[in-house]
Amino acid sequence: MLEIEGLTAAYTHVPVLENVTIRVGAGQFVSIVGPNGAGKSTLFKTISGIVTPLSGKIRFEGRDVLAVPPPQRAHMGIAHVPEGRQVFPSLSVMENLEMGAYTEAGRGDWKENLEKILTWMPVLAERRNQLAGTLSGGEQQMVAIGRGLASSPKLLMLDEPSMGLAPAIADFIFDKLAEIRSQTNLTILLVEQRVAEALQTADHAYVLEAGRVVLEGTSETLQADDRVRLAYLGM
């Protein structure tokens, strides 16, 4: 579904991504793990069009993503739940979700999507008229995920959904993702620092270090890999 090939990107003269190749098949759950500054968020920003790569290809369902203007990429079916949540602070929870449904697909499915989102995350129903900027971090993360789901995406990209959350809330978010996935069979690309959880839920995973893919494989292989166990799982 998503094919990234030989992607190289930079903000200055130092490349942040170097020759990155990643594949996500339809219906797959793929995780990307790696230390701070590895270029994980940059990879997502390149897919969304906020960063223009120096070279490489990105294809989504066979279409050349890099030829599509950034605001149009959401309409292709790519939902980006960004790092640090990035909700619209002065819009209400409901309005945030409506903005998620700005895509044609999201507009068409608005009623069903909203019902599902509010069932998965009932807090959002309670807080529907509250300004998103006044929500707690966990609630904002739910808004960000709900907003992504409201677009009726084919691919949901989540950038560190557990960032800055208490362990219990982070666990809750992971449980929700697993639940949503089991019910929808949505294709998910996840970036996470919490490597144990990221590997557990994923079918396939990549380890990104200093802009390069240093390891990839099924999550069982990676969970058994000594380097991963030592560097990321603390075993």
Binding site: H80, F88, Y102
Partner: protein, 319 residues
Amino acid sequence: MTAAILIENILQALVAGLLIGAIYGLMCVGLALIFGIMRVINFAQGDFMMAGMYCAFFIFGPFGISALFGNVVGPYVAAILAGPVLFVAGYLVHLFLVSRVSGTNTATLEGEGHYAQLILTLGLALILTNGAMILFGSQPFSVRSPLAISAWEIGPLWGDRVSVFVNKSRTVSALISVATIAALGWLVARSRLGKALRASADNPTAAIYMGIDVDRSHRIAFGLGIAITAIAGGLLATNYSFHPYVGLEYVIVMYAGVVLGGMGSIMGAFWGGMTIGLIQQMSTLVLPTQLQNTAIFVIFLVIVFFRPQGFLGRSAERT
């Protein structure tokens, strides 16, 4: 006896202040809309207002609105129609000029493009004023409605003494202003377009992730802001004559109103403009007319000193 005259004068100034304040409010809302959504300070706003006035003039006369609607209603129709014309003008000015120094193109510019924006909008202001000077000359124009010299008399309120005169033209203009603000308020608060505009202002990057074309949002906001101020200009033109430099006279009103209302708050800007109108008219009770603008400035400084975030300012809340 003298008390009656004093009360009459105060009431008269109050009514005049409310009526002119509604138009000032509309003018300020245009500027606030642009600043609130694009974070661009448009120094040419006063001159776009002047363009709106000339536009109303030509719509009224040469384009036949006076023949169609007559001299009484025509000027107001022309003022409203100046809105869509200036919307297109603003939209194009953004597309070809402003977009180059704002929005998603500012990453590589010094000071997030604010210097370039300042220079560009000041340049636009000069071009508009001098362009109008070349095209229309310095003699005053007007689109005055006959209503401008007729009034309703309310009263006598106290014995046979106190009565207030309410100018008909200014009343109609104030009502059109309020209706325009209400329509804009609905658009921004409730419509899909309005929500997308606010989302673009709140977090442009996230807005792009949602599939919102932020540059287009800015173009629409810029066009709308210009159109709103142009309508206010057209309404002023039904009461006062104007010339190419008229923008300068109202720029202080606009900036004072927007800052009073809390930079970027749209409804705040309306109340800011209303306050300026009231201060201006009330000051005529104690000051000679030449000092009206000084009064605005002094009160403005006093209010900003005590409430720097403006009336409805939310700067602390914005992230």
